[in-house]
């Protein structure tokens, strides 16, 4: 048999039909659903009298709109339109008989954190959701990507998706990461190197020693932002760490089925002589803690750098950089570590898992946030929150002056009350620094949880490595 990539193998194992013109029908193993991109899809089913073909493979959880304050059981904490959307999901889940984690359930959280946590996401699966950060699940070696609402309806009705195969893009991170450098720095650095359209038309497979060394949490952070690089999906081949993470999860196979699954999962890797359409290699040792300075995730530089000038760029990027600098209120040549911040947000499907909270707490332990700065931690799920409380992390955040919130998407996209005011500047562990993303006029700098914690202490963007030296 010809050599295949991991993507080729998963694709082949899910191909239902291929038309003469090359249009393919791909089977979907897991369909994750949230309240924002699904109401029109369920309405479409009702209007056509269609049912959900595989309700047992369909999992819903409200996350985008839900308040994260402790009083959220009080309906008045939500605006009316948000409440209508969440109530629509409550009703749709019930009417169509799909798995559901309501706001009141301790397992509720961001859909991309709940899926893996509950064992819905497993290696070799196809996973879709009406949300671009579905790429997260690629960390398990599952082909996972975002879809629009029309496609949500298509998957609900047929459990398949009409697709054309993407090309294969290998991103290799060789060697080892230096102290203070994290999965977030890897994924941002890759986007910085390839651009936000560099992955358009491709599925990325992340490989190399530095990727193998990452925990499952770190791998999810890397794959989560494959979409910010323009790729349809990001993948990491499963290994012993993957199996260990999945084992014993509520919806993971058990007993003989587990053994059979692992036997299959062990076939899920790119063959040595597989053909790649594009290859990018970064040295792990060359990656520094990074921050974004502009309004595109490709606007990324090491924390030791300075704000660039539009004249450093060519083509359409010149105008875009000028617009970014005006929006961000930055001056070319300004040191990134001199940028003062108003707010710190730790959370999101990129960095709202237990390991992220541990990394931030390790920096914050015994310290206080800067006076006057707003700081919040929003765990990715109710179970992450409970674990962080059990490990004593919550108390570290509270003692440092952070708000300790309930689970949800929160200030990553500010659909709930957690928003930036115009010109408010935020160090955020989320995934998008677009204009208005965290609130109209809000200014976002993306960084790792450890870097966010360091910024909270000093009140400006800070090289976390300096604080680590202090600790030693």
């Amino acid at each position: 048999m010809t050599a295949r990539t991991l993507y080729d193998k998963i694709w082949d194992d899910h191909l239902v039909d291929q038309a003469e013109d090359g249009t393919c029908l791909l089977y979907i193993d897991r369909h994750l659903v949230h309240e924002v991109t699904s109401p029109q899809a369920f309405e479409g089913l009702r209007m056509t009298g269609r049912r959900v073909r595989a309700p047992e493979k369909t999992i819903a959880v409200p996350d985008h709109n839900v308040p994260t304050t402790l009083d959220r059981a009080n309906a008045a904490t939500m605006t009316e339109d948000s409440r209508i959307q969440v109530e629509a999901l409550d009703k749709n889940a019930k009417d169509f008989g799909i798995h559901y984690y309501p706001v009141s359930d301790v397992r509720q959280g961001i859909v991309h954190i709940v899926g893996p946590e509950q064992g819905w996401t497993l290696p070799g699966m196809t996973v879709v959701c009406g949300d671009s950060h579905t790429a997260t699940h690629g960390a398990f070696g599952s082909l996972a990507h975002g879809i629009g609402t029309s496609e949500v309806e298509h998957v609900l009705a047929t459990q398949t998706l009409i697709q054309r195969k993407a090309k294969n893009f290998k991103v290799e991170i060789t060697g080892h990461l230096m102290p203070g450098v994290t999965a977030k720095d890897i994924t941002l650095s890759v986007i910085g190197a390839t651009g936000t359209a560099g992955g358009t038309g491709y599925v990325i497979e992340y490989c190399g020693q530095a990727i193998r060394d990452l925990s499952m949490e770190g791998r999810m952070t890397v794959c989560n932002m494959a979409i910010e690089g323009g790729a349809r999906a990001g993948l990491i081949a499963p290994d012993e760490k993957t199996y260990a993470y999945c084992m014993g999860r509520p919806h993971a196979p058990k007993g003989a089925a587990w053994e059979a699954a692992v036997t299959y999962w062990k076939t899920l890797f790119s063959d040595d002589d597989a053909q790649w359409d594009k290859v990018v290699t970064l040295k792990g040792e060359d990656i520094a803690p990074v921050v974004t300075w502009g309004t595109s995730p490709e606007d990324v530089l090491p924390i030791s750098g300075v704000v660039p000038s539009p004249s450093d760029f060519t083509g359409g990027k010149v105008e875009a950089v000028q617009r970014s600098l005006d929006y961000m209120g930055l001056t070319p040549g300004q040191k990134l570590s001199d940028i003062q911040i108003d707010t710190v947000f730790i959370g999101s499907c990129t960095n709202g898992r237990i390991e992220d909270l541990r990394a931030a707490a390790a920096i914050l332990k015994g310290k206080k946030k800067k006076d006057g700065l707003r700081a919040m931690v929003v765990p990715g799920s109710g179970l992450v929150r409970a674990q962080a409380e059990a490990e004593g992390l919550a108390q570290i955040f509270i003692d440092a002056g952070f708000e300790w919130r309930l689970a949800g998407c929160s200030m990553c996209l500010a659909m709930n009350p957690d928003q930036l005011a115009p010109q408010e500047r935020c160090a955020a562990t989320s995934n998008r620094n677009f204009e208005g993303r965290q609130g109209r006029g809000g200014r976002t700098h993306l960084l790792s949880p450890a870097m966010a914690a360091a910024a909270a202490i000093t009140g400006h963007l800070t090289d976390v490595r300096e604080m680590m030296t202090e600790k030693v």
């Binding site: 309405e43 009705a157 358009t200 359409g316 677009f434």
Partner: protein, 201 residues
């Protein structure tokens, strides 16, 4: 879905690169449970002040472009979130075609599901179409999906590529779900085979 065959209309130039879906339709408008009514909030934060007044410089607020049906845009249009509210807002405003050097994958797919034709052209052609669009309301461009051509206001013709299946669906206004439902036997067979091969899935 409304059919798309041939369109002659005003083209609005938006040269900015990386126009993301948060710009096309900001998140506060995603709380709707309908598909319609989003046109007034298309490009909301670029188009209106915080107080809700129109920003006169913004292209779709200029008299020549208020009835645009085509957008000629900078590279990587539609990047970011999967929100189908982006094409819904474009369509509700009256935009039926977007031309750029590249589109983000999910946005590109979403357009076809809503009767909008996204056209990928090389940089030099997009530059020419952008210059043509800048001539204003009298510079109508023609998009012919049947012949796969764009014609500028002064008669220059440029061919474009489009996937045959998607072209077929757009020209005939076909809904994908109905077409896939015709393949139910193949789906049944796949599920049966998969249940024995990968029972955990």
């Amino acid at each position: 879905m409304e059919k798309f065959t041939k369109l002659t209309g005003i083209a609005a130039p938006m040269a900015l690169v990386n126009i993301d879906t948060d710009m096309i339709i900001p998140k506060q408008f995603l709380k709707t449970i309908a598909r319609t009514g989003l046109g007034k909030n298309l490009f909301d934060e670029m188009r209106y002040t915080l107080e809700g007044a129109e920003i006169p410089d913004f292209v779709l607020n200029q008299p020549a472009y208020r009835h645009s049906e085509i957008l000629v845009a900078g590279d990587n249009f539609g990047c970011g979130s999967s929100r189908e509210h982006a094409p819904w807002a474009l369509l509700d405003f009256g935009i039926r075609c977007v031309i750029s050097t590249s589109f983000a994958d999910i946005f590109y797919n979403n357009c076809f599901k809503n009767g909008i034709l996204p056209i990928v052209m090389p940089q030099e052609v997009v530059d020419l179409l952008m210059d043509d669009a800048k001539k204003g309301a009298n510079a109508r461009q023609t998009i012919d999906l049947e012949t796969q051509t764009v014609t500028t206001s002064d008669g220059r013709v440029f061919p474009f590529e489009v996937d045959a299946h998607r072209k077929h669906c757009l020209i005939n206004g076909l809904d994908d779900i109905g077409l896939t439902m015709e393949k139910v036997t193949a789906i049944d067979a796949f599920e049966k085979k998969n249940a024995s091969l990968h029972p955990w899935a």
